[in-house]
């Protein structure tokens, strides 16, 4: 299966989506990412039982922070899929890339360029 996903997505591997913390998502936005999403295992299928559920709650927290700051919360998202679903991984990557394309560059970056 040689599937390609949008090249503007940088994949960071972690042992479990539960490893991703609020600060990691915020730092990504702070450092200029236009969007950031977590691809975790299917809910109920976490090897560590609740890692992906925790990840979702953290994503929701970051969405609220972005909302407070007047930044589109859709720039941060949680997806669930199994490790065997290559085509779904690509689908999600394309969906997220399209969403970010529609939203445009992060307000953090727009100001940076203007300055």
């Amino acid at each position: 299966m040689r599937l390609s996903y949008p090249s503007n997505i940088k994949v960071i591997q972690v042992p479990c989506s539960g490893r991703v913390d609020i600060i990691h998502l915020l730092k990504a936005i702070e450092d200029g990412a236009d969007g950031v999403y977590i691809a975790g295992c299917l809910e109920g299928e976490c090897h560590f039982l609740t890692g992906n559920l925790k990840a979702r709650k953290r994503v929701n927290y970051v969405k609220k922070v972005l909302e407070e700051l007047g930044i589109e919360p859709e720039r941060v998202e949680m997806f669930n899929l199994s490790a065997g679903e290559g085509p779904r991984f690509v689908e999600i990557a394309k969906e997220m890339a399209e969403r970010i394309q529609e939203l445009g560059p992060s307000p953090v970056n727009v100001q940076k360029k203007a300055a």
Partner: protein
């Protein structure tokens, strides 16, 4: 422990509007335990404030530090060399922290990042509830180990009132009627007659009504 909630980011941004360089000071005491002002939350707030500033096209330099406690001068002293290097300092401790800091460093501006709400504990992971009102004269032993001063909306000592329905307080369906719980517990224990002992009006001299409180342990005073 002392429970607090973080202030809205807009309020904090307003406080530091004219600042380019700030220090966020966390506390490893109560606010770390209730996940609002420890090292982790300091990092999150720093990042959020920097994102907000970048969005405005301005920069904000933020240093992060978390003290053992902010309610003891010996720990407050640990920032003496750097506290003057900033335009302002945000304290993530309870209301005590920014006051101790302001006293120790009168030339600096200190802003509270949290709203201190109550004395309480975690009833489940992520949920904290008030348990003590700090009235200065503990009476929980009369009420089955439950404090009607902190946990009854009216602080009734001879309750319940007519607003108790289905075990809930009339102010909200999310608030248990503590008097319902007290009566139930006393009934289960077979000690309901304890509640026949009518409590006279409580003296609030030891509470806030008597003015700011002070505790002195002579054996420790140097």
């Amino acid at each position: 422990m002392i429970i607090a909630d973080r202030k809205p980011l807009a309020e904090l941004l307003e406080m530091i509007q004219d600042c380019d360089r700030i220090l966020i000071l966390g506390c490893k005491g109560c606010v770390t335990v209730c996940n609002v002002g420890g090292a982790k939350e300091v990092g999150i707030l720093a990042s959020a404030l920097k994102i907000a500033r970048k969005k405005e096209g301005r920069t904000l330099e933020v240093d992060e530090r978390t003290l053992e406690r902010q309610c003891d001068p010996e720990y407050i002293e640990q920032v003496k060399n750097e506290v003057g290097d900033y335009d302002a300092v945000i304290s993530m401790a309870c209301g005590v922290g920014p006051q101790f800091l302001s006293t120790a460093y009168p030339e600096q501006r200190f802003y509270p990042a949290v709203n201190t709400t109550s004395f309480g504990g975690a009833v489940q992971h992520g949920v904290w509830e008030e348990r003590c009102a700090g009235c200065g004269q503990c009476v929980i032993h009369y009420f089955g180990g439950m404090c009607p001063i902190a946990r009854c909306s009216k602080s009734l000592l001879n309750g319940p009132c007519g607003g108790s329905a289905g075990g809930k307080c009339e102010i909200s369906k999310d608030v248990d009627c503590i008097w319902d719980m007290i009566v139930r517990k006393k009934t289960e224990q077979g000690r309901l007659e304890d509640l026949l002992d009518v409590k006279p009006p409580k003296s609030w001299d030891t509470a806030r009504d008597g003015g700011p409180r002070r505790s002195v342990r002579e054996e420790l005073v140097q």
